[in-house]
């Protein structure tokens, strides 16, 4: 059985797949990769199913030793990875020899780097998913982020990898899928509560990602958005990417480990095609919101999915 030994965990490294849907009635949010596009491509590069479990590293990567041969790929943010001190290429598959050390450092751009291994990370599934849900301490590897000394198992890959063929992502596709700082949104269910002047403030200003942001939500700092009627309402279901305005007037974008219900009005909602970009935002990054119509949001998602499914995405 193939293993990964964790020599250094990095800042916050968790096992993630594409999350667990369907448990909203229990108050359980899906969790899953913060940048699912990067995870999906990483899995494609090593020949896995798109939703296989990989490692999500945050801002500072870890150091991992592979006692056996393994095929890996790094996607998402560039953490300056090396194998036995030789630098390696992002967005490309790579064969790691027995005993070699894969080492990552601090991010150079973006927030999250994904390590995918052929076969996928092998953890006990919780509610059908390998995703770590940090808030509840469930799923993934013992429900927590990795620590020094942890040993992860790699699932046996179909057909083995005797014939390693290097694959890489096409440059044009990579450019098209690069993370955005101008987030496109559709109007939120309470957008009509906000006056035109307030909407102008929301769409006309840049916001800074606050330090306290995490997988539950991205807190923003900047121009205060005045909320109607004290800003509280009875709790209702909230969707991924919802931009809720708290009583203090600061927006919070609900993210992958989101609360399932909430009582703040939502002015907008990040479109599906831009959700992956949220996963690459770092504290102090500046963002802006751009309003689009529902049809545009659909079209952009279709385009993105078409690109992700295309044969030209991965080249040999």
């Amino acid at each position: 059985m193939s293993l990964i030994e964790v020599r250094a965990p990095g800042l916050l490294t968790t096992v993630q797949d594409l999350g667990r849907e369907g448990f909203g009635p229990m108050g359980v949010s899906p969790s899953g990769a913060a940048d699912p596009v990067a995870l999906r491509i990483g899995n494609r590069l090593v020949g896995n199913a798109e939703g296989a479990a990989g490692l999500e590293m945050t801002l500072l990567g870890g150091t991992f030793v592979f006692p056996e041969r393994a095929v890996v790929a790094l996607t998402g943010a560039n953490f300056g990875a090396t194998v036995d001190n030789g630098s390696i290429e992002m967005w490309s598959s790579l064969e790691v020899q027995p005993g070699q050390t894969l080492r990552m450092g601090p991010t150079r751009a973006g927030a999250r780097c994904y390590l995918c291994v052929k076969g996928g990370i092998d953890v006990k599934l919780f509610l059908g998913s390998a995703s770590t849900h940090l808030l509840s301490g469930l799923g993934g590897f013992e429900g927590r982020s990795l620590r020094k000394g942890d040993v992860l198992r790699i699932r046996a890959a179909n057909g083995g990898f005797r014939t390693f063929r290097k694959t890489k992502m096409a440059g044009r596709a990579l450019e098209k899928l690069s993370p955005r700082r101008v987030l496109r949104v559709t109007a939120g269910p309470q957008s009509e509560w906000f006056t035109e002047e307030v909407q102008k403030v929301f769409y006309g200003n840049t916001f800074r990602v606050a330090e306290e942001s995490n997988r539950m939500g991205l807190r923003l700092e900047g121009a205060a958005i005045s909320t109607p009627s004290g800003g509280e309402m009875i709790s209702e279901g909230v969707s991924l990417g919802a931009v809720q305005i708290t009583a203090s007037g600061l927006p919070i974008i609900l993210f992958v480990e989101q609360q399932t219900t909430g009582g703040y009005p939502k002015i907008a909602n990040v479109i599906s095609a831009d959700l992956s970009s949220l996963g690459q935002l770092r504290p102090r990054d500046e963002i802006r919101f751009e309003r689009v119509e529902l049809d545009t949001a659909r079209m952009l998602l279709l385009e993105q999915e078409k690109l992700l499914a295309s044969k030209e995405l991965i080249v040999e």
């Binding site: 849907e21 369907g22 448990f23 909203g24 009635p25 229990m26 108050g27 359980v28 899906p30 919780f126 509610l127 849900h133 808030l135 509840s136 301490g137 469930l138 559709t186 109007a187 939120g188 269910p189 309470q190 957008s191 009509e192 509560w193 109607p228 009627s229 309402m233 009875i234 709790s235 209702e236 279901g237 909230v238 969707s239 991924l240 990417g241 919802a242 609360q259 399932t260 219900t261 909430g262 009005p265 939502k266 909602n269 990040v270 479109i271 599906s272 529902l294 949001a297 659909r298 998602l301 279709l302 999915e305």
Partner: protein, 253 residues
């Protein structure tokens, strides 16, 4: 955001009120506002109605019994149901149409018989740091506040916010107290709190702004059990005051 293609805020309140939540989510409200065409006023706390809630439960139940292809998740609340779907397989318009069919026949859906659940609570002290405060703000003794909290039979309106967190209502009027101005960074698992006319138990340790009256030694979120949670939507709940010694005993059992 309203649809541009169809009559919104529908004429019949029985049919609910549909809004776009995101490009992959729709929210259905069964609130009094559904009666008033085009009403934009924020729904208020006092608009939680048993009728609205029962319709949420019926639609949820029907969607669980007869899943709609492409629907990925459901988020029930007091008087609304958020439906998340695969935007590559389903459009808002299509889901809207299917849901109207479901809503028109959901009155016939049999709801599961609500269970009656008793939850032991050790009130006050370090377990209930806000008990005295809440009592004082209403000119009550701590004993009377406990009695009020423990003598009401509550309804589980929904599970939300965090895994296994049940929203219970409604707290006796003499106890209704707003949230803390500044939420605690960490509330211990099992803490029993109130917020406005709601009460509930923190199943896991999370940040939280509810006023804490006590703590239960009973596990609320049970990920390994088939129900996953001690409480389900629609259940009836009573809190039972226990001593510190009983708490310790139950905690170790």
């Amino acid at each position: 955001m309203r649809y541009t293609f169809d009559r919104m805020g529908t004429s019949a309140s029985r049919g609910g009120r549909f809004l776009v939540a995101s490009d992959q989510a729709l929210i259905v409200y069964f609130d009094p506002q559904a009666d008033e065409n085009g009403a934009k006023a924020p729904p208020l706390q006092n608009q939680i109605t048993i009728e609205g809630h029962e319709r949420v439960r019926r639609l949820l139940r029907l969607m669980e019994l007869e899943p709609i292809a492409g629907v990925r998740n459901l988020h029930p609340a007091y008087c609304s149901l958020l439906i998340k779907f695969d935007a590559l397989k389903l459009r808002h318009e299509e889901l809207d149409k299917i849901l109207r069919g479901y809503i028109s026949r959901m009155e016939k859906v049999a709801l599961p018989e609500p269970r009656f659940v008793e939850i032991p609570v050790c009130y006050g002290g370090e377990f209930g740091p806000d008990l005295q405060n809440v009592a004082d703000s209403h000119g009550l003794t701590a004993e009377r506040a406990i009695e009020l909290h423990a003598s009401t039979t509550y309804t589980v309106y929904f599970l939300g916010f965090a895994p296994g967190f049940a929203y219970l209502g409604e707290v006796a009027e003499e106890l209704v107290t707003p949230r803390l101005a500044t939420p605690r960074k960490s509330v211990p698992a099992g803490s029993v709190g109130i917020a406005g006319s709601q009460t509930g138990v923190y199943p896991i340790s999370t940040p939280g702004g509810w006023r804490l009256l006590g703590r239960t030694p009973v596990a609320m979120f049970r990920p390994e059990s088939p129900e996953m949670s001690l409480l389900s939507i629609g259940d009836r709940v009573r809190f039972v005051s226990i001593s510190r010694a009983q708490f310790a005993e139950l905690e170790n059992s």
